[in-house]
Amino acid sequence: MSDTAQQQIVIVGAGHGGGAVAASLRQYGFKGGITVFGTEPIPPYQRPPLSKAWLKGEADAASLALRPPAFYDKADISLRLSTTVTAIDRTAKTVTTDSGETVGYDWLILATGARARRLPIPGMDLAGVLELRTAADADQLKAALGPGRKLAVVGGGYIGLEAAASALALGATATVIERESRVLARVASEALSHAYQTAHRKRGVTIELGAQVAALEGADGHVTGVRLGDGRLVPCDVALVGVGAVANVELARDAGIACDQGIIVDLAARTSDPAVFAVGDCTWRPLPHYGRDFRLESVPNALEQARQAAGAICGRAPAAPEVPWFWSDQFDLKLQIVGLPFGATHTVLRGDPATESFAVFHLADDNSLRAVEAVNMADAFMAGRLLISKGSQLAADKICDMSIAMKDLAQP
């Protein structure tokens, strides 16, 4: 490593990616200054429990922290919370903050994440209409839930379904309203969507499919229901709008850094400016196992890119690219997904969805494995991770044969 002691790194965004890249830099031996700016008032924390264990009351606020508060002082990382970076000057190599401060950098790392997509419908500004992206959002949602309360979830994605499951655990009722003909339509196979619809309905969640949302209605400024396109009203005390996220690319774009649906990066997490890196939900990144670029919204992705950026700055040899993966916990259903269905032409089922323990294997024409969606079947997920990274081809009749252990499938 070249001598880093005199170098200054500025990280924009104190979320999962920003916190991880700061920690990785120290772990890899970076000796210079590290300053992390974050809009939110609290140190980097984990978002996944906000719709799961934390919302249900099974995890306390302290357990959300990515690192203990004392870590940042000990590691000599300057955390500048409640401070937003408003502009980048790439010629002068400085950033400007909303408090009017200008700070110089040798390396700049953008970890600005994504924000909840807003719906262009009337009533979005009513009290009780919430989104779920930050700890502050989650506090509001939790305060509004409890025995007898009615939650309406607009959008049947992972966050909406997890919130619905957690709401039931808190004694509330939940109705999920989805525009498409199945939940998780953009992010899961039909088999998985159907299994989750069945599981949610069986446990008491109401699901409205193919339903347009016309407006959020209220009385005295507070939401009272969701008006559907067909005129029906879904009454509620609180409405959670979870219709996807948009990457926070404006800061980079305004500075002339190349962007697509996210900030364009390479496999070292480097942007079109060699002094600027970007990690996490805000990036548009290459997927080497799939030969295309994509935007991922997951913790493993943010952590992988944090290691890529820190490694590149510290002169480490690049690590082998990981196969993207994701998890979701709803009720007692443990979903783990590895890979993406790009290039897949057919699916094979292992196990029986009716037992709530099964996996969907996505294969390409040549039977090479592209993705596995595993529900309460961790070995299928782990084996899939290995097989996809090796580019292995699988025999369909072996996958569905439960008498063949995953371990034997993984070592052909």
Partner: protein, 106 residues
């Protein structure tokens, strides 16, 4: 609070106070012990909180859960005394526990 010791692959030992009722993984992360990545934050979904439990402690740390076993079957460097530390609850019985960590979690 019980004291537990995490030994890195290079031999560096970290003795920390582990809060009762939390997981062994949380004791490591909360005390910034290097070598436990815990990417999924304890959801038993990532297998990056892998430890080896010293043989004399295996009875007190208990048996692997089914999901944990399924994960560990495919983890790198897995051994008979491999555990996912997020699945080990900290109890008073674990006072003095020693676990070792693999070379890497990825």
């Amino acid at each position: 609070m019980p004291q537990v010791t995490f030994i890195e692959h290079n031999g560096t030992a970290h003795t920390v106070e582990a809060e009762l009722g939390k997981s062994l993984m949380e004791a490591a992360v909360g005390n910034a012990v290097p070598g436990i990545d815990a990417d999924c934050g304890g959801a038993c979904a990532c297998a990056t909180c892998h430890v080896f439990v010293e043989p004399e402690w295996e009875a007190k740390t208990g048996a692997r859960t089914e999901a944990e076993s399924a994960m560990l079957n495919f983890a790198a460097e897995v051994k008979p005394n491999s555990r996912l530390s997020c699945q080990i609850p900290v109890t008073a019985e674990l006072e003095g526990l020693v676990v070792r960590m693999p070379e890497g979690q990825h």
